[in-house]
Symmetry: C2
Subunit: 187 residues, 2 copies
């Protein structure tokens, strides 16, 4: 992290990282599969947190609501303070395409895990997938809004708002098609 923030990700060589940590290049690659992996090593913990939280949501809750709850738990704990480690990490990631790439993979993996968690709640496959991915999308955008927004606004709250916005936005999808648009939720 030090080196990445100092000189940028690309300009930092693995040999340098290893040296700074008092290790060898070879040993570095035994701990991290990638040069990028350093930034994403903690992702596994976040994933289990979310997955457990989805699984533990009140039974009978709608799939998307369970996902919202799971992601909300992560938002309230891991991302509690606005100016902590995650923010610095995000700055590094945003400065480098290779890292954004990895970030997307991490989120995709999270999506798959949440899908499985939903199926564990008895949700059918396609619906689970859709609810999980929609939730991840909401989380991604909420995180973005949170980072760029005022410090006093908690991610937890932003996330909830984003989920509502997502509902509102998608509700108008059939507009302009043959089917009666207003016959739904917004009626």
């Amino acid at each position: 992290m030090e080196l990445y923030t100092e000189r940028g990700f690309e300009q930092t060589t693995v040999a340098e990282i290893a040296e700074r940590a008092g290790l060898t290049k070879r040993t570095f690659f035994r701990h991290y599969t990638d040069k990028r992996d350093v930034l994403f090593a903690g992702a596994a913990a976040l994933q289990t947190l979310v997955v457990d939280s989805v699984a533990a949501a009140p039974p009978g809750l709608a799939p998307i609501a369970a996902v919202a709850e799971g992601l909300g738990t992560a938002a309230a704990t891991t991302f509690a303070d606005h100016d902590g480690v995650p923010r610095a990490r995000q700055a590094v990631i945003e400065a480098n395409p290779e890292l954004q790439e990895r970030e997307l993979v991490k989120l995709a993996t999270l999506g798959a895990a949440v899908t499985e968690a939903l199926r564990g709640r008895g949700v059918d496959g396609p619906t689970a997938r859709l609810a999980a991915e929609a939730g991840i999308t909401a989380f991604r955008i909420a995180f973005e809004r949170w980072i760029t927004g005022p410090p006093e606004r908690a991610l937890h709250a932003v996330l909830r708002e984003t989920f509502d916005d997502l509902r509102d936005v998608t509700s108008r999808v059939a507009e302009g098609r043959g089917a009666s648009p207003g016959a739904r939720a917004d009626a």
Copy 2:
């Protein structure tokens, strides 16, 4: 593509690709930024197709409906036949994590472009972003369903169905929360 399907992506070296194409390694890298880029070179065309289509959607249409129309156009043209090039391409991609990574980036880029197209229609930033990303999510899942589904089912139709499913799934997001589902802050 030949080499990638024959021996897999990892096992194919750039020198081999260049040789097969009658080129040099150096020349290859002047045409493609990456070894992966070969598979995604056509993505730019798809993107402009979608963006133009979103921009050309009937004015006054809801953001998400415009996105659905844009993606629907792509679905009806580029992905017309179920067993064409895209399917073979997808098989190669699915066999390799590195390529999936790039695929996600491509979709993220598409999302950003669609966001801009929506803003060009007068949609405010946050809503545009959300509608675009939600649309991309729907497209991703629809494509997946289409690939694994029966050949006679057109992507166009699957996409429309997926959009409706997305609407239905997200509509229940406020379930289990205190506030009445329809009553948002800005209501």
